[in-house]
Amino acid sequence: MSESELFDVRLTVNGVVRDVRVPARRLLSDCLRHDLRLTGTHVGCEHGVCGACTVLVDGVAVRSCLLLAVSADGAAVTTVEGLTGQDGTLSAVQQAFADCHGLQCGFCTPGFLTTITAALEENPRPTEEEAREIIGGNLCRCTGYQNIVRAVRRAAELTAERADREGAT
């Protein structure tokens, strides 16, 4: 297999089917960022430690710098751009970060947003300790995490409020 041999890959990214031809070694993070130009996913370390590049693959939070694009063939991928509602409303997790000053430079933020989104699906009412566990694998150099922990719990509240409102209408 030569470095220049290209492979067809079909991804469903944020609900849209995308076909790309990439070399076998293309990282999913680079494929999303440079082939599909979805630059909301950031690359902070390229060795799977910082979590900035986290995306949801078939609903599961994964580090897109540790996955080859070819091995995601056929998968549904959600990036930070796909968290926002179709009408442009910020998701509960995104809104919670704005409400709680959960971001400063914003570089690590997309990875936190995707990680927390997946975790709240599993545990919609995390305790403070659980909130800390949810974000325990993501690095942030700006915030000292204080307001990110708050944002996790605020997101849970917002999600519940929004569900109540939808239930009422």
């Binding site: 960022r33 630059t39 909301g40 970060f97 430079c105 914003g106 947003l113 307001n147």
Partner: protein, 807 residues
């Protein structure tokens, strides 16, 4: 309309960043060629033959450059940014190594290719011959000078500086008590989540260069690149996109890549981009903090410092592009809130075969606070006094402000504190942490077999250093307000706080204000973002520019309403006669009226055309006036403002494993008036987390050959949420600065400054073992315990060898 200044409003920056619509350096230039660099694998070596023949055959390679290929001023050593008379042997690196390499990671060959994968394929096929030379690693080896980093720099000494106020030696000799301490602080680094990066595009038609760079100073990069490429400043634009954190490392400029990428883009006629990866950031950007200190202090029976003599040795790495700024800051800011009877400080800045050292958030102050606060704790231990009491007795009192230390600060100006109330800050901190009740807490824990300790540490931070910043405020005919200032943003919320200032000064809704930073097209004169200076410098400049725009708007509206300007006000974007909402003219309409027109571009603009009336005896634009509602002002203070703060921490140390747990972390902070308390607290949170990292986890593990052994996020222990305190309790004190129109002092670096000092104090208090070297890991503490047995437990005052652990 309620005042915006002082309100904890949510940030204006966030919406875009939360949607994934931020534009960081590597998000730009998808069509650009990519760079990879062959970097030195040796800490010190002569560079021999470079064979690129194998690499030239790699598909997609566009160009390969070595030092030999660089023309003219691109081939010269990088600029020495901050010269100083004491910097007698300043040396800087070349953009690509010229015959010798002096640290692992130094760039040797530049590869340009169609994408980064291909550039790296080519880079690994390039063969470079090296003749290794002995490496000088660590401050002690540099002092010993068995080997030299630069052949023409004797003793590895880049610079040597002495400052004094009074006769410290005589004061110490005459003092009833004298202590000596040997104190060491290890290296750490800024480590923003986004590394460095630069993109350049040469427009072959307009013959202009446009550069995007992840920098803390766009004007600095512009001046340096224009000078080296022989371009007029007017033909170079430098744009700072969203920056994924800086913390100091991105104030250095021009990085080798910041010169080479624009040079190659112009030469090749194609956009070129360099995006630093994580290992490059560890190996080829900058570190800070590595210093060894020797303290002699003489004091009286009350614990008052009569004489203080500090000598220290600063590891500046392979080159010294940023000059002596870090050790100068340590040497002056270590005085903190105290007034020793006499003070002498002497430092040597030493070359080593390691990555360069330039300011990292706090910039020499964490080391200074560590030295001074360890000294205060040692005095308290020696005399058996409460540690807070000893500090109180040495404080500068509020009525002594402004206080002149008789030294020269990092800006070349006298070290004179403008304001501050240290006794009040200490009282707040003691109340917040429960200082006076701690013995009961400790005793209760001891009953449960738990070991607790408490520490406190104080600092004073010179913020808002000059020489100046400027701002431009313009009211568009739509009523929207465009604000520009030249310094850059890396996540501090500048857009928000500057808009808050303009909203109040101009009287317009904050939603109508758009702030641009770090774009030389919008504002060409600026210094940069460092030294907690944005709120002070650009905040003041923005306020002055907004006031000028306001005066102009009122003058134009007053003429239209035939009213006196003194009777006018601007409320919610309406310029009106005071108390008469009916009289209001929208500020956008005033902008239309301010610009006499021949051609109406829309219906509203018809009011300003030449047949619309006016006083036919006067020129449409008065002699000393100009069209438009604009203000352009600069702020240049006489000297820095001095913020201050005090931290306390309660730790628990595990009697078996020596793990160190933070139980409470308390901060009292005085940055003058607060523009946005939420943003200030966010800055403190982040600073404290970096401080925890520097005190307990982060170190640069160089081996004796100069290889950095922990150059990854797996091995360099940057704190995750599990490592930071579960809560950071903050109390504010506001003593406004008299040196600027808003009373502001800087806040950006405060959180990190006293961390090493406060953790050392608390761990020492828990353990009864002198802590003289930071950071301290559980295994360090375990070893210290073993070494202290069975001898009696010492206090901080006991002289003790503090070897470079982690080496």
């Amino acid at each position: 309309m309620t005042s915006m200044f002082g309100e904890p409003i949510a940030r204006l920056e966030d919406d875009r960043l939360l949607r994934g619509n931020g534009a960081y350096l590597d998000d730009l230039g998808h069509d650009a060629l990519a760079c990879a660099f062959v970097r030195s694998p040796h800490a010190h070596a002569r560079v021999g033959e470079i064979d690129v023949s194998d690499a030239l055959g790699v598909d997609g390679v566009v160009a390969i450059y070595t030092h030999e290929d660089l023309p003219g001023r691109i081939a010269e050593p990088l600029p020495l940014l901050i010269p100083h008379p004491a910097l007698t042997h300043g040396r800087t690196g070349y953009p690509l190594a010229a015959g010798e390499v002096n640290y692992v990671g130094e760039p040797v060959v530049m590869v340009v290719a169609e994408d980064r994968y291909l550039a790296e394929d080519a880079a690994e096929r390039i063969m470079v011959e090296y003749e290794p030379l002995p490496a000088v690693v660590g401050v002690d080896a540099a002092r010993k000078a068995d080997h030299l980093v630069h052949d023409d720099v004797p003793g590895n000494v880049a610079g040597h500086l002495v400052q004094s106020n009074g006769d410290a030696a005589a004061a110490i000799a005459a003092a009833p008590h004298v202590l000596e301490l040997d104190l060491y602080v290890e290296r750490s680094a800024s480590t923003p989540l986004e590394g460095r990066g630069v993109l350049a595009r040469w427009d072959t038609e307009s013959r202009r260069l446009r550069i995007w760079t992840s920098t803390q100073t766009s004007t600095g990069v512009r001046a340096a690149v224009a000078a080296r490429l022989g371009l007029a400043l007017a033909d170079v634009d430098v744009i700072t996109p969203d920056v994924g954190g800086g913390f100091g490392v991105k104030i250095v400029h021009p990085w080798p890549e910041e010169l080479l990428v624009p040079w190659a883009a112009r030469l090749l006629g194609r956009p070129v981009k360099f995006t630093e990866d994580r290992i490059e950031h560890f190996l080829a950007s900058a570190h800070e903090r590595g210093q060894r200190h020797r303290v002699r202090v003489g004091f009286d029976d009350q614990g008052r410092v009569l004489g203080l003599d500090v000598r220290f040795w600063h590891d500046n790495g392979a080159y010294i592009p940023y000059g002596l700024i870090v050790p100068i800051i340590t040497s002056t800011q270590l005085l903190g809130p105290y007034k020793p009877g006499a003070y002498r400080v002497e430092f040597s800045s030493l070359y080593t075969n390691t990555v360069i050292v330039t300011p990292y958030r706090g910039a020499g102050r964490p080391q200074g606070a560590f030295v001074m606060e360890r000294t205060m704790d040692a005095i308290a231990a020696e005399l058996g006094f409460d540690r807070a009491l000893v500090r109180e007795r040495n404080f500068i009192q509020p009525e002594e402000m402004p206080y002149d230390h008789g030294l020269i600060f990092q800006d070349g100006r006298p070290l004179i504190y403008d304001s501050g109330d240290y006794p009040a800050a200490l009282a707040k901190l003691k109340a917040l942490v429960g200082w006076d009740d701690f013995e009961a807490v400790r005793a209760a824990a001891r009953e449960e077999g738990r070991r607790l300790g408490i520490g406190l540490a104080c600092y004073v931070e010179g913020t808002g250093v000059g020489p100046y910043e400027g701002a431009h405020v313009v009211v568009e005919t739509s009523g929207k307000v465009k604000v520009a200032t030249g310094l850059t943003s890396q996540g501090q919320g500048h857009q928000t706080v500057l808009a808050q200032i303009v909203a109040d000064e101009l009287g317009v809704p904050i939603g109508d204000i758009d702030v641009v930073t770090g774009d030389t097209r919008a504002f060409g004169y600026a210094v940069g973002t460092f030294a907690s200076r944005t709120a002070v410098m650009s905040g003041s400049a923005v306020a002055l520019a907004a006031r000028a725009a306001r005066a102009k708007a009122i003058s134009v509206a007053a003429a239209a309403l035939e009213a006196s300007p003194d009777d006018m006000e601007i409320v919610a974007g309406q310029v009106r006669i005071k108390g008469d909402p009916e009289s209001g003219i929208a500020i956008g309409t005033v902008a239309v009226l301010s610009n006499p027109l021949r051609y109406a571009f829309d219906e509203a603009a018809q009011a300003a055309t030449q047949f619309a009336g006016g006083d036919f005896d006067k020129p449409p634009v008065a002699e000393d006036d100009e069209p438009g509602i604009e203000g352009r002002k600069f702020f240049s203070p006489v000297r820095s403002t001095f913020a201050a703060g005090m931290h306390a921490v309660i730790v628990e140390t595990d009697p078996q494993t020596a793990e160190i747990k933070v139980l409470r972390y308390c901060v009292v902070h005085d940055c003058g008036t607060l523009i946005n308390p939420r943003i200030v607290e966010g800055q403190i949170h982040g600073g404290v987390a970096q401080g925890v990292g520097g005190a307990l986890y982060e170190r640069m593990a160089y081996d004796e050959t100069g290889q950095l052994q922990n150059a990854s996020f797996m091995d360099f222990l940057m704190p995750y949420v599990s490592e930071v305190p579960k809560g950071i309790e903050i109390d504010h004190l506001e003593t406004p600065s008299p040196l600027n129109p808003l009373g502001i002092k800087g806040a950006g670096e405060a959180g990190v400054i006293p961390s090493a000092a406060v953790f050392a104090a608390a761990i020492e208090d828990a353990e009864g073992i002198a802590i003289t070297s930071m950071p301290i890991s559980p295994s360090d503490l375990f070893e210290l315990r073993a070494a202290s047995r069975p001898a009696s437990r010492g206090a901080a005052g006991a002289p003790r060898d503090s070897g470079d652990r982690g080496r």
